[in-house]
Symmetry: D2
Subunit: 101 residues, 4 copies
Amino acid sequence: MARTPYDESAVQAALARLPGWTYDPQRPALQRLFVFADFSAAFGFMTRVALLAERMNHHPEWRNVYNRVDVVLTTHDAGGVTELDVEMALAMNTLAGTPAA
Amino acid sequence: MARTPYDESAVQAALARLPGWTYDPQRPALQRLFVFADFSAAFGFMTRVALLAERMNHHPEWRNVYNRVDVVLTTHDAGGVTELDVEMALAMNTLAGTPAA
Amino acid sequence: MARTPYDESAVQAALARLPGWTYDPQRPALQRLFVFADFSAAFGFMTRVALLAERMNHHPEWRNVYNRVDVVLTTHDAGGVTELDVEMALAMNTLAGTPAA
Amino acid sequence: MARTPYDESAVQAALARLPGWTYDPQRPALQRLFVFADFSAAFGFMTRVALLAERMNHHPEWRNVYNRVDVVLTTHDAGGVTELDVEMALAMNTLAGTPAA
């Protein structure tokens, strides 16, 4: 189920398909910093992620400073990382132009 | 000057650097249809163009239906195509992933 | 059903709740021109409609020139105006600050 | 000049016109948390601020989680709060629907 939190080994298996992402077991959450050429590229990316987030009804925690977008993905009501986060992380890599491994 | 309209030969010279664009001498204006993979790609493009338009204080006429963005560029207060339109058309091609010729 | 086209009387009943919208029986489609203070207001509106469109998987036909957004709503695969269009038109009025009648 | 940092009393005078904003003398920077009805409202606001940021060539540090947008404004190359930050904070209040005091 999408809302069942991954255990440690499931997270590690997912990370193998998620270049650039790391796991923070404290939250727990997935994290990645995206760096773009400029603000326009960063905000264009954010807009496409926003469209996806509304479609999935699953939203990132993110911080933007000019060309940088720092993302944290977790499923609050599941208390951990779920399939929703992995799906969104994969999509973010595609939208940012980072091919999945 | 940015606001001086191009004559026919200047427009033709500019079009050589603007793959995909055509000239409508009736308006007069530059025109191009951009076709993307889906709505998300189209609207991500539009957002980046919107950021540029505000920075340049020069705005496109455009029509969007799902993955298609039909653009008309003209400089209303100059009554024709100016350097502003050519600059924006070049930037749109770059943002859409079409390398300048 | 969302995808069943409205007949003329159902459209007229819907229009009573949709100030600013008109019906074009030729398409058939709902139409409205939104006029904002400036480009920023127009594009902020378009962004919120884009988010909704992805969530509904139903997209407008629209044309933007600076502070104007001209919208046409129809459900292509139903060949007419459906509940999806009425729902989107109501939402657009709310997002544009026009209270539903 | 826009790029001259405000001293403490100038910041305090500016804050009188900036309901909701506080001053962090450590950065130094202006800060405000905006809370919206939902993600759509938050991201619509962010899009309009992004358009302004590109026009001003001055960008916020901001963090978004669903309906919340936490903003930090500072002028990095001036090492403090300048007229650019105050202008942007005033504009953000207007865009968020908070009338200036």
